[in-house]
């Protein structure tokens, strides 16, 4: 085996690949070969670093250099300067958005300082397509330990004691679920990995599957051993082609290595995994809907109980866990419950992966210990709000979650505290909003998503959310009435109270939490017919101030719809019936003559 001195880790996650990271990796390999460094340096395509907005990202080991926004054309310079001459390429180094300081060693990056990576432990570290690299990072030792030295009950006790809770949304105690599935009698049982990640902006499950697929395979096999299942199924959306591809390769490798198949570790335990593809319906992340979809039926939820642990896939006991939950399992087995329990809060142990998005400087995936505050996440790890704008709110838990504000910034992030504050953990989407965001518009956006994703089975979700959405549209058009606020609250609460599944039960959350925290914005839309953030187009008007207008005609030439008229050197005029409110005139005017009214 070659003992490489330098490793160039190139992010091969979907996000970096879409900004040409695979071409970059090719270029780097070619350049290394060109310069005769084949035995000295190696390029490894890894999973996601979680640092997506600045991609493609390269990490150089052993000196922990992080290069951001690297283009394939930069390959030659990196190899020549960094690898050959030992000089870092300054222009590609990460710059702290707050201090403008160039970071030479990744360990000094604020964004990584507060993170603890358990579920993402191998993402951005190993080549996800190599089972050997996974094994080199203690891969499959947990499975080996479980199969050869422990009884299923002992393993379940460990998972229970660790306090691990479902990372897909509701936070059910994972060990308890395993126990329930084990205790349900049945010859045939199933292990299902829920990879139907659907929250807008959330992509931790995809990143884990792309960056560390073997950890899921290992955890599912452990779960199979505990529950008595010999069949594993991964329900994954077909829109994740790279994750599917890597998972397939990983399953194949695991089968070749005897980690899947018959008589694993010569213990007589049989377990294998196959894939089931979803068509991308958000509701299929709900476990009963997921199971119906896997069975070939319509993806819609049914009443629980019976829980899948009792009556699941094909009517057999089925343990359904989400990707991130599974990713924690081998680490807990290897490092022990005490270690895991030492991270997090009293009721929420371990870490949680969040997808930071919106108006924050460091957009991407982060993994933080439970109990960390929103302030730390947004202002330290996230690097604060973009362009030094003012923080306004953060939507946590995706479209089902709630919107928290300034006053919640010191709330510790755990399952209970978030619910108390009016949001939820959900699958870990975190969308940050600043002063330029209209909160009524934000509520409308999230509701638009759930209205679209409702399965249509129950009345409150099928019709109620639609009506809620229509009310919001009406308000943002300036047609809202005073009584609409009360109507929104009553309708929202009834939908929460009567919907069949969590999709419907949580769909009004953004509307209600925004009503609670930003009531003045609703009132401004309804009473004053104004959108304070200037987002709702129907409520704003571009106008020309006669005193400032010099008649340069720039605005008229910029207007794409010919809504502006006026002779040279005379005051111009905007025809409101034609104006599409694109703002091109305002951008072009040098005399501050165009204003928003």
């Amino acid at each position: 085996m070659t003992d490489f001195k330098i490793h160039l880790l190139v992010c091969g996650g979907t996000n970096c690949r879409s900004s040409r990271s695979s071409i970059l990796a090719e270029q780097l390999r070619a350049e290394i070969k060109n310069q005769g460094l084949d035995d000295y340096a190696q390029v490894v395509t890894t999973g996601c670093f979680g640092y997506c907005e600045n991609g493609p990202v390269i990490k150089v080991i052993p000196d922990n250099t992080i290069y951001t926004q690297v283009r394939p054309e930069d390959a030659e310079e990196i190899v020549t300067n960094h690898i050959v001459k030992g000089r870092k390429v300054n222009r590609l180094l990460y710059k702290d958005p707050r201090t403008d300081k160039i970071i030479v060693d990744a360990r000094e990056m604020e964004t990584y300082k507060k993170q603890i990576r358990i579920a993402l432990r191998n993402c951005g570290v190993i080549d996800p397509e190599s089972i050997d690299e996974y094994i080199a990072k203690d891969g499959y030792t947990a499975l080996g330990k479980v199969l050869t030295t422990m009884s299923p009950e002992e393993v379940i006790q460990i998972i229970k004691r660790s306090g691990l809770r479902g990372r897909g949304g509701a936070g059910f105690l994972t060990g308890l679920k395993w126990e329930l599935t084990r205790q349900t009698p049945g010859k045939e049982k199933y292990v299902v990995c829920n990879a139907d990640e659907g929250d807008p902006g959330a992509f931790m499950d995809r990143s884990i599957l792309e960056g560390d697929p073997h950890s899921i395979i290992e955890a599912m096999a452990i779960n199979g051993y505990c529950t008595g299942a010999s069949q594993g199924l991964v329900y994954i959306r077909a829109e994740y082609p790279l994750a599917i591809d890597r998972l397939r390769k990983a399953i194949h490798q695991a089968q070749e290595y005897g980690m899947l198949g018959a008589d694993i570790f010569s213990t007589g335990f049989d377990f294998d995994i196959s894939l089931r593809f979803g068509a991308g319906a958000f509701v299929c992340g709900e476990e009963t809907a997921l199971i119906h979809s896997m069975e070939g039926g319509r993806g819609e939820p049914t009443m629980k109980p019976p829980f899948p642990s009792v009556k699941g896939f094909l009517g057999k006991p089925t343990n359904v866990n989400n990707v991130e939950t599974f990713a924690n399992v081998p680490a807990i087995i290897n490092k022990g419950t005490e270690w895991f329990r030492s991270i997090g809060t009293e009721k929420s142990k371990g870490t949680k992966v969040f997808a930071l998005a919106g108006k924050v400087n460091n957009v991407g995936l982060i993994e933080v210990p439970m109990g960390i505050t929103l302030r730390e996440v947004i202002f330290e790890i996230g690097g604060g709000i973009k362009n030094d704008k003012k923080f306004k709110g953060v939507q946590i838990g995706g479209p089902s979650g709630g919107c928290l504000t300034e006053k919640h910034l010191d709330v510790p992030i755990d399952y209970e505290s978030l619910v108390d504050a009016g949001a939820m953990m959900g699958s870990g989407g975190m969308i940050i909003m600043d002063e330029d965001d209209c909160m009524v518009d934000v509520a409308k956006f999230f509701l638009d998503f759930t209205v679209d994703e409702s399965c249509g089975k129950c009345t409150p979700c099928r019709i109620g959310n639609k009506r809620l959405h229509e009310l919001l549209i009406n308000i943002t058009k300036g047609n809202g009435k005073e009584e609409d606020i009360e109507r929104l609250i009553n309708l929202g609460n009834v939908i929460k109270d009567t919907s069949l599944c969590m999709l419907g039960q949580s769909a009004p959350n953004p509307v209600l939490s925004i009503l609670e925290n930003f009531i003045e914005e609703y009132e401004a839309h309804i009473r004053d017919k104004k959108c304070p953030a200037g987002v709702c187009k129907d409520l704003m008007k571009y106008e020309i101030v006669a005193e400032n207008c010099v008649g340069c005609t720039a605005c008229a030439r910029a207007c794409p719809v010919g809504a502006i008229t006026g002779e040279r050197k005379e005051v111009h005029y905007i025809d409101q019936s034609l104006c599409i409110k694109c703002g091109a005139c305002m951008d072009r005017c040098k005399f501050n003559a165009v204003i928003i009214n």
Partner: protein, 593 residues
């Protein structure tokens, strides 16, 4: 099974019910009626439809975060349920308002008006205002007109009862939910027309639809036009099951036989002749019974070209079913036409000649408990130069509407008799209306024709009943005849699959598409899942049989005369032309996915 009992309180009343009982059923036991909408309990068919979709039946359970759908939430020890707190009432009212906000408000001209579960509930709940209706989008869909059933999905409330009937009970698979969210609706796959789907027109979906989303094609207006046309001679035939159910529409208790009043009403409506499908049921027995004996004797002689069992073919829903789904077995069913069509063929030849009316001027109308009959009339096999043997069929429900419309005081009508010759029938013809009846009628005749002996008994109780699949062995003077009976297409499927897999020992099988046979047909007064009503209708049918002076088809004097004057003998050339048919492989026509 050891049933644990569970104690709980509902509205502070203590109730004790077996483990696994739902709140809804426990409440009923306590005398508390929780309103339901999508829920449907077909206890005798082992179908309890409780998708928990409408959310009207929600109740408050102490300690539970949200409201619980009582139809699908099981009770537990110590549970405390409140069925009418303000929170519950507000939720129900709001949900009802939501349903109405996406429902047409044209109740005045809706065929279901007055018989609509949604309307009834709206009246009960007293919804007086629908907030923001002016900005509310309403989901609309293309109306689907098939020969028997109209789908107006603008009125669908997604209760999904039709889906359960079509898929679980009938295993037809024509209907399922499509689309998502606000636009989700029950429809054939890809929203194609019912006519292009595997639909059999059994009408069981129509029978359970709580609104006007699924209704029958209404021919009463056409009938009124024809009756008012002096150039036309309009005659009518009435199916056996109609007389056992029609009275329900006029407030009479289920199981009241209204044969005489029905005849009187039809006469007052202006039909020139009021005849009985029971007559042609007797004729069916002559043809089908003879065919059975023919196939049986050939089979016993070792003729390998003859396949057994012979299957009855009176039920058009069942014919549609095997033509679409069991196309490899098209040679098994009897070739005998249904009684409706035999009647039409005889009426437009033999009878038309007798009264000297040209075929084109004779309108034959049938009153049927069935919607598939509407389709059956339109089949090309049953037309002569484009003129159908039976012009159109109206259902029991449509007839009731028509009688009401004509302000005929049904309950005070005198009992009148059918006209002759096509109104004379035997008890064997009457029992066609109940599951097992056709095969019993066939045996009464086949036995005597085969053995040349008089039947020792007329009632074959072993063939009667409500079990989905039944079987019996009938002794034909030393020869054991194995009989199978199925009602409901799901049960039929089981028998057919057994035949297909060679697991079959029957000589003859009777199949009816609807549960209970024609008495439970898709055109009958709505029974709302109450099978007690079907049982009462069944009793009425057998009561009528018992009171008939002649109870064997081959003894019907007018049938004997018909053969003497016109047909010759059963299975004669003329019989073949007029009374038999062939089956079509519909799988080629149907659009499969």
């Amino acid at each position: 099974m050891n049933m644990e009992m569970v104690k709980l309180t509902i509205d502070k009343k203590e109730v004790e019910v077996p483990e696994g009982t739902t709140i809804y059923k426990a409440a009923r036991k306590a005398g508390i009626e929780i309103p339901v909408l999508c829920y449907m309990d077909l206890g005798d068919l082992n179908i309890e439809h409780k998708p928990g979709g409408c959310r009207i039946c929600v109740v408050e359970v102490e300690g539970r975060r949200n409201l619980a759908p009582s139809c699908s939430t099981e009770v537990y020890e110590g549970m405390k349920v409140h069925t009418h707190t303000i929170r519950v009432l507000n939720a129900r009212q709001t949900v009802m308002e939501l349903l109405l906000s996406d429902h047409p408000k044209d109740c005045l001209i809706c065929p279901k008006s007055g018989n609509c579960d949604l309307q009834e509930l709206a009246i009960k709940m007293g919804v007086r205002e629908i907030h923001n209706q002016d900005i509310a989008e309403v989901s609309t869909y293309r109306t689907d007109f098939s020969p028997a059933i109209i789908r107006d999905m603008n009125k669908c409330i997604m209760c999904r009862r039709c889906e359960t009937m079509c898929n679980e009970l009938q295993t037809v698979g024509a209907l399922s939910a499509i689309n998502r969210g606000f636009m989700s609706v029950v429809a054939p796959a890809f929203e194609m027309d019912l006519e292009d789907s595997v639909c059999t027109y059994c009408g069981q979906c129509v029978a359970v639809c709580p609104t006007g989303a699924l209704t029958e094609v209404d021919h009463t207006h056409r009938l009124i036009r024809d009756l008012s046309n002096p150039a036309k001679t309009v005659i009518v035939q009435t199916a056996p099951a109609v007389r056992a159910a029609l009275g329900e529409e006029f407030g009479l208790p289920p199981g009241t036989l209204v044969t005489g009043k029905m005849v009187a009403a039809l006469r007052r409506l202006g039909f020139k002749y009021v005849f009985d499908t029971d007559f042609s049921a007797d004729l069916t027995i002559m043809e089908e019974g003879t065919e059975l004996l023919d196939r049986l004797t050939k089979h016993l002689r070792g003729d390998k070209s003859v396949r057994l069992p012979i299957l009855t073919s009176c039920c058009p829903g069942w014919v549609n079913f095997f033509e679409a789904q069991f196309t490899d077995m098209l040679d098994i069913p009897s070739t005998a036409r249904s009684p409706q069509q035999m009647f039409g063929a005889i009426a437009k030849t033999y009878f038309a000649d007798k009264i000297r009316v040209k075929r084109d001027n004779l309108i034959v109308v049938s009153i049927m408990p069935c919607l598939a009959k509407k389709y059956e009339c339109t089949r090309d096999e049953f037309k002569v130069d484009g003129n159908p043997d039976v012009d159109y069929s109206i259902s029991t429900r449509e007839l009731a509407h028509l009688i009401k419309k004509a302000n005929i005081e049904f309950n005070t009508l005198p009992d009148e008799d059918f006209d002759l010759p096509l109104g004379e029938s035997t008890g064997a013809g009457v029992i066609f209306g109940a599951t097992g009846g056709v095969i019993e009628a066939a045996i009464r005749t086949a036995y005597e024709l085969y053995t040349n002996k008089k039947l020792p008994r007329i009632d074959f109780h072993e063939l009667r009943g409500m079990d989905g699949i039944r079987e019996a062995v009938i002794d034909f003077d030393g020869l054991s005849i194995n009989i199978g009976i199925a009602h409901g297409l799901g049960n039929a499927r089981k028998l057919l699959e057994d035949i297909r897999n060679g697991k079959n020992h029957y000589h003859a099988i009777e199949i009816m598409a609807c549960p209970g046979g024609c008495i439970g047909g898709g055109g009958q007064p709505l029974h709302h899942g109450n099978f007690g009503i079907l049982k009462k209708r069944m009793e009425a049918i057998y009561r009528e049989d018992a009171t008939k002076s002649i109870r064997k088809s081959h003894e019907n004097p007018y049938i004997i005369k018909l053969y003497e004057e016109f047909l010759g003998k059963p299975m004669s050339e003329r019989s073949h032309k007029l009374l038999h048919t062939h089956y079509v492989d519909k799988s080629k026509k149907i659009i499969y996915i």
